[in-house]
Protein backbone atom coordinates (compact mmCIF):
# COMPACT_ATOMS: atom_id res chain seq x y z
CA UNK A 1 0.00 0.00 0.00
CA UNK A 2 1.37 3.40 -0.98
CA UNK A 3 1.28 5.93 1.83
CA UNK A 4 0.66 9.60 1.21
CA UNK A 5 0.39 10.79 4.77
CA UNK A 6 2.15 13.94 5.87
CA UNK A 7 3.33 14.86 9.35
CA UNK A 8 0.45 17.33 9.46
CA UNK A 9 -2.08 14.56 8.73
CA UNK A 10 -0.65 12.44 11.52
CA UNK A 11 -0.88 15.39 13.90
CA UNK A 12 -4.54 15.94 13.03
CA UNK A 13 -5.27 12.22 13.45
CA UNK A 14 -3.62 12.19 16.86
CA UNK A 15 -5.65 15.19 17.90
CA UNK A 16 -8.84 13.43 16.77
CA UNK A 17 -7.80 10.23 18.51
CA UNK A 18 -7.13 12.12 21.72
CA UNK A 19 -10.51 13.83 21.43
CA UNK A 20 -12.23 10.46 20.95
CA UNK A 21 -10.43 8.89 23.90
CA UNK A 22 -11.66 11.64 26.19
CA UNK A 23 -15.24 11.60 24.87
CA UNK A 24 -17.65 9.57 27.04
CA UNK A 25 -19.55 6.76 25.30
CA UNK A 26 -17.19 6.37 22.34
CA UNK A 27 -17.40 2.90 20.79
CA UNK A 28 -14.20 0.95 21.53
CA UNK A 29 -14.18 -0.82 18.14
CA UNK A 30 -14.42 2.44 16.23
CA UNK A 31 -11.58 3.79 18.29
CA UNK A 32 -9.47 0.69 17.62
CA UNK A 33 -10.23 0.92 13.88
CA UNK A 34 -9.26 4.57 13.89
CA UNK A 35 -6.01 3.86 15.72
CA UNK A 36 -5.27 1.12 13.18
CA UNK A 37 -5.70 3.59 10.32
CA UNK A 38 -3.12 5.86 11.93
CA UNK A 39 -0.81 2.86 12.20
CA UNK A 40 -1.31 2.00 8.52
CA UNK A 41 -0.48 5.54 7.47
CA UNK A 42 2.63 6.00 9.55
CA UNK A 43 4.49 4.68 12.49
CA UNK A 44 2.28 5.00 15.55
CA UNK A 45 4.44 7.44 17.48
CA UNK A 46 3.90 11.20 17.51
CA UNK A 47 5.96 13.46 15.27
CA UNK A 48 8.19 16.00 16.98
CA UNK A 49 6.25 18.95 15.57
CA UNK A 50 3.17 17.63 17.38
CA UNK A 51 4.57 17.16 20.87
CA UNK A 52 4.06 20.00 23.35
CA UNK A 53 6.40 18.66 26.02
CA UNK A 54 9.16 21.22 26.50
CA UNK A 55 11.98 18.66 26.59
CA UNK A 56 10.82 16.62 23.60
CA UNK A 57 10.25 19.70 21.49
CA UNK A 58 13.72 21.26 22.01
CA UNK A 59 15.90 18.19 21.41
CA UNK A 60 17.54 17.85 17.99
CA UNK A 61 16.11 15.56 15.30
CA UNK A 62 18.61 12.75 15.99
CA UNK A 63 17.74 12.82 19.69
CA UNK A 64 14.03 12.73 18.85
CA UNK A 65 14.61 9.81 16.47
CA UNK A 66 16.09 7.88 19.42
CA UNK A 67 13.14 8.45 21.77
CA UNK A 68 10.14 9.21 19.51
CA UNK A 69 9.40 5.61 18.43
CA UNK A 70 9.04 4.57 22.08
CA UNK A 71 6.49 7.23 23.08
CA UNK A 72 2.98 5.99 23.85
CA UNK A 73 0.22 8.62 24.20
CA UNK A 74 -1.48 8.40 27.62
CA UNK A 75 -4.14 10.26 29.55
CA UNK A 76 -3.07 11.43 32.97
CA UNK A 77 -6.18 11.52 35.19
CA UNK A 78 -5.98 13.33 38.53
CA UNK A 79 -4.71 11.10 41.32
CA UNK A 80 -2.82 8.66 39.08
CA UNK A 81 0.30 7.42 40.85
CA UNK A 82 3.15 7.44 38.32
CA UNK A 83 5.98 6.44 40.64
CA UNK A 84 5.22 4.55 43.85
CA UNK A 85 7.70 5.09 46.69
CA UNK A 86 10.02 2.08 47.02
CA UNK A 87 8.70 0.35 43.88
CA UNK A 88 10.86 -0.21 40.78
CA UNK A 89 10.55 2.46 38.08
CA UNK A 90 8.45 1.14 35.18
CA UNK A 91 7.79 4.15 32.95
CA UNK A 92 8.80 7.75 32.63
CA UNK A 93 6.03 10.18 31.65
CA UNK A 94 6.60 13.25 29.50
CA UNK A 95 3.67 15.59 30.17
CA UNK A 96 2.04 17.64 27.41
CA UNK A 97 -0.41 19.15 29.90
CA UNK A 98 -1.44 18.79 33.53
CA UNK A 99 0.64 18.87 36.69
CA UNK A 100 2.60 16.13 38.41
CA UNK A 101 3.78 16.38 41.97
CA UNK A 102 6.56 14.66 43.87
CA UNK A 103 5.54 14.08 47.46
CA UNK A 104 7.31 12.76 50.56
CA UNK A 105 5.55 11.44 53.68
CA UNK A 106 6.37 10.87 57.33
CA UNK A 107 5.66 7.38 58.78
CA UNK A 108 2.33 8.74 60.14
CA UNK A 109 1.32 10.01 56.68
CA UNK A 110 2.04 13.71 57.11
CA UNK A 111 2.83 14.69 53.52
CA UNK A 112 4.62 17.58 51.90
CA UNK A 113 5.22 18.34 48.27
CA UNK A 114 8.88 18.35 47.27
CA UNK A 115 8.38 19.63 43.74
CA UNK A 116 6.06 19.98 40.76
CA UNK A 117 6.41 19.59 37.02
CA UNK A 118 4.19 19.91 33.98
CA UNK A 119 4.79 20.01 30.26
CA UNK A 120 8.32 21.29 30.85
CA UNK A 121 9.40 18.03 32.48
CA UNK A 122 9.04 14.32 33.03
CA UNK A 123 8.39 11.84 35.83
CA UNK A 124 10.78 9.07 36.79
CA UNK A 125 13.96 11.00 36.06
CA UNK A 126 15.71 9.08 38.85
CA UNK A 127 16.14 6.38 36.21
CA UNK A 128 18.42 8.77 34.28
CA UNK A 129 20.71 8.84 37.31
CA UNK A 130 21.15 5.09 37.25
CA UNK A 131 18.85 4.21 40.16
CA UNK A 132 15.94 1.75 40.00
CA UNK A 133 13.55 3.22 42.63
CA UNK A 134 13.15 6.15 44.99
CA UNK A 135 11.51 6.97 48.35
CA UNK A 136 9.28 9.72 46.88
CA UNK A 137 5.86 9.27 45.30
CA UNK A 138 5.00 10.96 42.00
CA UNK A 139 1.32 11.56 41.23
CA UNK A 140 -0.89 13.56 38.89
CA UNK A 141 -2.33 16.61 40.70
CA UNK A 142 -4.00 18.38 37.76
CA UNK A 143 -5.24 16.10 34.97
CA UNK A 144 -3.54 16.21 31.62
CA UNK A 145 -2.08 14.02 28.90
CA UNK A 146 1.35 13.09 27.66
CA UNK A 147 3.55 10.20 26.60
CA UNK A 148 4.93 7.34 28.55
CA UNK A 149 8.09 5.49 27.72
CA UNK A 150 9.46 2.35 29.36
CA UNK A 151 12.51 2.91 31.53
CA UNK A 152 14.52 0.49 29.38
CA UNK A 153 13.65 2.38 26.20
CA UNK A 154 14.46 5.71 27.86
CA UNK A 155 17.84 4.44 29.02
CA UNK A 156 18.73 2.99 25.64
CA UNK A 157 17.64 6.20 23.86
CA UNK A 158 19.94 8.13 26.22
CA UNK A 159 22.79 5.80 25.31
CA UNK A 160 22.14 6.40 21.61
CA UNK A 161 21.92 10.17 21.87
CA UNK A 162 24.28 12.26 24.00
CA UNK A 163 22.25 15.39 23.38
CA UNK A 164 19.06 13.68 24.62
CA UNK A 165 20.81 12.54 27.79
CA UNK A 166 22.37 15.96 28.37
CA UNK A 167 19.06 17.79 27.90
CA UNK A 168 17.28 15.46 30.34
CA UNK A 169 20.09 15.77 32.88
CA UNK A 170 19.92 19.57 32.62
CA UNK A 171 16.24 19.20 33.48
CA UNK A 172 17.21 17.20 36.59
CA UNK A 173 19.42 20.17 37.58
CA UNK A 174 16.46 22.55 37.10
CA UNK A 175 14.26 20.31 39.24
CA UNK A 176 16.88 20.23 42.01
CA UNK A 177 17.02 24.05 41.79
CA UNK A 178 13.24 24.13 42.24
CA UNK A 179 13.36 21.91 45.34
CA UNK A 180 16.20 24.08 46.75
CA UNK A 181 14.03 27.16 46.40
CA UNK A 182 11.05 25.31 47.89
CA UNK A 183 13.21 24.55 50.89
CA UNK A 184 14.35 28.19 51.13
CA UNK A 185 10.76 29.37 50.79
CA UNK A 186 9.60 26.96 53.52
CA UNK A 187 12.02 28.37 56.08
CA UNK A 188 12.01 32.03 55.08
CA UNK A 189 8.49 32.89 53.93
CA UNK A 190 5.10 33.39 55.53
CA UNK A 191 2.30 31.03 54.52
CA UNK A 192 0.99 33.80 52.22
CA UNK A 193 4.37 34.09 50.48
CA UNK A 194 4.70 30.34 50.06
CA UNK A 195 1.16 30.15 48.72
CA UNK A 196 1.82 32.98 46.24
CA UNK A 197 4.92 31.17 44.96
CA UNK A 198 3.05 27.89 44.64
CA UNK A 199 0.14 29.51 42.78
CA UNK A 200 2.60 31.03 40.29
CA UNK A 201 4.27 27.66 39.72
CA UNK A 202 0.87 26.09 39.17
CA UNK A 203 -0.25 28.95 36.87
CA UNK A 204 2.83 28.37 34.67
CA UNK A 205 1.66 24.83 33.99
CA UNK A 206 -2.04 25.32 33.24
CA UNK A 207 -3.53 26.92 30.15
CA UNK A 208 -5.92 29.43 31.75
CA UNK A 209 -6.05 31.85 34.67
CA UNK A 210 -8.57 29.71 36.60
CA UNK A 211 -7.11 26.92 38.69
CA UNK A 212 -9.32 24.29 40.36
CA UNK A 213 -7.83 23.69 43.80
CA UNK A 214 -9.40 22.86 47.14
CA UNK A 215 -8.06 24.35 50.35
CA UNK A 216 -7.49 20.82 51.60
CA UNK A 217 -5.24 20.06 48.63
CA UNK A 218 -3.28 23.29 49.10
CA UNK A 219 -2.87 22.52 52.81
CA UNK A 220 -1.28 19.16 51.93
CA UNK A 221 0.97 20.70 49.30
CA UNK A 222 2.20 23.40 51.69
CA UNK A 223 2.06 21.14 54.78
CA UNK A 224 0.01 23.61 56.83
CA UNK A 225 -3.38 23.40 58.54
CA UNK A 226 -6.30 24.04 56.21
CA UNK A 227 -7.45 27.27 57.95
CA UNK A 228 -3.95 28.70 57.37
CA UNK A 229 -4.56 28.27 53.62
CA UNK A 230 -8.04 29.80 53.87
CA UNK A 231 -6.63 32.80 55.78
CA UNK A 232 -3.67 33.22 53.40
CA UNK A 233 -6.01 33.13 50.37
CA UNK A 234 -8.24 35.69 52.09
CA UNK A 235 -5.24 38.00 52.56
CA UNK A 236 -3.88 37.60 49.01
CA UNK A 237 -7.38 38.16 47.64
CA UNK A 238 -7.63 41.27 49.85
CA UNK A 239 -4.53 42.65 48.09
CA UNK A 240 -6.31 42.10 44.75
CA UNK A 241 -3.84 39.54 43.30
CA UNK A 242 -6.33 36.67 43.03
CA UNK A 243 -10.05 35.96 43.17
CA UNK A 244 -11.41 32.88 44.89
CA UNK A 245 -14.64 31.01 44.42
CA UNK A 246 -15.43 27.65 45.89
CA UNK A 247 -12.52 25.31 44.94
CA UNK A 248 -11.40 27.74 42.26
CA UNK A 249 -8.67 30.35 42.23
CA UNK A 250 -8.31 32.97 39.49
CA UNK A 251 -4.98 34.71 39.00
CA UNK A 252 -5.83 38.41 38.57
CA UNK A 253 -2.47 40.18 38.84
CA UNK A 254 0.42 37.86 38.11
CA UNK A 255 3.14 40.54 38.26
CA UNK A 256 1.99 41.67 41.70
CA UNK A 257 1.98 38.04 42.84
CA UNK A 258 5.59 37.66 41.62
CA UNK A 259 6.60 40.78 43.60
CA UNK A 260 4.75 39.42 46.63
CA UNK A 261 6.65 36.09 46.35
CA UNK A 262 9.72 38.24 47.06
CA UNK A 263 12.40 36.59 44.95
CA UNK A 264 11.37 33.04 45.84
CA UNK A 265 9.72 32.57 42.44
CA UNK A 266 11.61 32.75 39.16
CA UNK A 267 15.11 31.35 39.59
CA UNK A 268 14.37 27.69 38.65
CA UNK A 269 12.23 28.94 35.75
CA UNK A 270 15.13 31.17 34.57
CA UNK A 271 17.51 28.20 34.80
CA UNK A 272 15.16 26.21 32.55
CA UNK A 273 15.14 29.02 29.96
CA UNK A 274 18.91 29.41 30.16
CA UNK A 275 19.71 25.69 29.88
CA UNK A 276 16.84 24.07 27.98
CA UNK A 277 14.38 26.31 26.18
CA UNK A 278 11.05 28.16 26.43
CA UNK A 279 9.31 27.68 29.78
CA UNK A 280 5.51 27.98 30.00
Amino acid sequence: MTKFVTDGDVSVMYQMLHHLRTTPGVDGWKLAAFALRINEGRMPHPTQSFVRNGLLSVIDAAAYAAIGPHLEPVDLPKGTVLIEAGEPFMHAHFFNSGIGSIVVSTPDSQRVEAGIFGREGLSGFGSLLGVDQCPQTTMVQVEGEGYRVSIEALRSACQQSDSLRETLLRYVHVFITQTSYTSLSNVSQSVEGRLARWLLMCHDRVTCDDIALTHEFLSIMLAVQRPSVTTALHMIEGYGFIKTRRSNITIVDRDALIDFADGMYGTPEAEYRRLIGPFA
Binding site: S190, V191, T214, H215, E216, V224, Q225, R226, P227, S228, T230, T231, H234, M235, R246, S247
Partner: protein, 83 residues
Protein backbone atom coordinates in the same frame (compact mmCIF):
# COMPACT_ATOMS: atom_id res chain seq x y z
CA UNK B 1 -17.58 10.75 60.30
CA UNK B 2 -19.28 14.10 59.82
CA UNK B 3 -18.28 17.22 57.95
CA UNK B 4 -17.43 20.27 60.02
CA UNK B 5 -16.79 23.81 58.84
CA UNK B 6 -14.36 26.15 60.59
CA UNK B 7 -15.54 29.69 59.91
CA UNK B 8 -13.13 32.24 61.28
CA UNK B 9 -14.30 35.36 63.11
CA UNK B 10 -12.27 38.41 62.19
CA UNK B 11 -12.61 42.05 63.28
CA UNK B 12 -15.01 43.05 60.51
CA UNK B 13 -16.72 39.81 59.54
CA UNK B 14 -16.14 36.14 58.87
CA UNK B 15 -13.65 34.23 56.70
CA UNK B 16 -15.79 31.38 55.42
CA UNK B 17 -14.53 27.82 55.21
CA UNK B 18 -15.76 26.70 51.78
CA UNK B 19 -14.82 23.01 51.95
CA UNK B 20 -15.07 21.84 55.55
CA UNK B 21 -13.29 18.82 56.90
CA UNK B 22 -14.20 15.29 58.00
CA UNK B 23 -13.96 14.51 61.73
CA UNK B 24 -15.22 11.67 63.93
CA UNK B 25 -17.18 13.97 66.26
CA UNK B 26 -17.29 17.51 67.62
CA UNK B 27 -14.51 16.77 70.15
CA UNK B 28 -12.18 15.75 67.30
CA UNK B 29 -13.27 18.83 65.32
CA UNK B 30 -12.48 21.06 68.33
CA UNK B 31 -9.02 19.47 68.57
CA UNK B 32 -8.44 20.29 64.87
CA UNK B 33 -9.61 23.85 65.48
CA UNK B 34 -7.14 24.27 68.37
CA UNK B 35 -4.26 23.00 66.19
CA UNK B 36 -5.32 25.37 63.41
CA UNK B 37 -5.61 28.32 65.82
CA UNK B 38 -2.12 27.61 67.16
CA UNK B 39 -0.72 27.75 63.66
CA UNK B 40 -2.58 30.95 62.76
CA UNK B 41 -1.37 32.63 65.97
CA UNK B 42 2.18 31.36 65.42
CA UNK B 43 2.21 32.62 61.81
CA UNK B 44 1.08 36.07 62.96
CA UNK B 45 3.61 36.19 65.81
CA UNK B 46 6.45 35.15 63.48
CA UNK B 47 5.42 37.81 60.98
CA UNK B 48 5.20 40.40 63.79
CA UNK B 49 1.58 41.27 62.99
CA UNK B 50 -1.72 41.01 64.87
CA UNK B 51 -3.61 37.79 64.11
CA UNK B 52 -6.52 38.37 61.74
CA UNK B 53 -8.99 36.08 63.52
CA UNK B 54 -10.22 35.82 67.08
CA UNK B 55 -12.23 32.58 67.11
CA UNK B 56 -13.53 29.67 65.05
CA UNK B 57 -17.22 29.01 64.69
CA UNK B 58 -17.56 25.29 64.06
CA UNK B 59 -20.72 24.58 62.06
CA UNK B 60 -22.35 21.54 60.50
CA UNK B 61 -23.21 21.21 56.82
CA UNK B 62 -26.49 23.07 57.35
CA UNK B 63 -24.63 26.09 58.78
CA UNK B 64 -25.81 25.45 62.37
CA UNK B 65 -23.17 26.75 64.83
CA UNK B 66 -22.14 23.80 67.03
CA UNK B 67 -19.29 25.34 68.99
CA UNK B 68 -17.27 28.50 69.25
CA UNK B 69 -13.54 28.11 69.86
CA UNK B 70 -11.82 31.36 70.88
CA UNK B 71 -8.17 31.45 69.77
CA UNK B 72 -7.30 32.25 73.40
CA UNK B 73 -8.03 28.58 74.19
CA UNK B 74 -5.10 27.61 71.97
CA UNK B 75 -2.61 29.55 74.10
CA UNK B 76 -0.54 28.07 76.95
CA UNK B 77 -2.26 28.78 80.33
CA UNK B 78 0.24 31.42 81.50
CA UNK B 79 -0.80 33.67 78.61
CA UNK B 80 -4.51 33.42 79.26
CA UNK B 81 -4.70 34.67 82.86
CA UNK B 82 -6.93 37.71 82.96
CA UNK B 83 -5.25 39.56 85.84
Amino acid sequence: MSRFYFHQQIANGIIEDPDGTEAVDLTAARHEAILAARQLLANAILAGVAPLGTAFQITDEGGQVLLEVPFREALPPQFTKSD
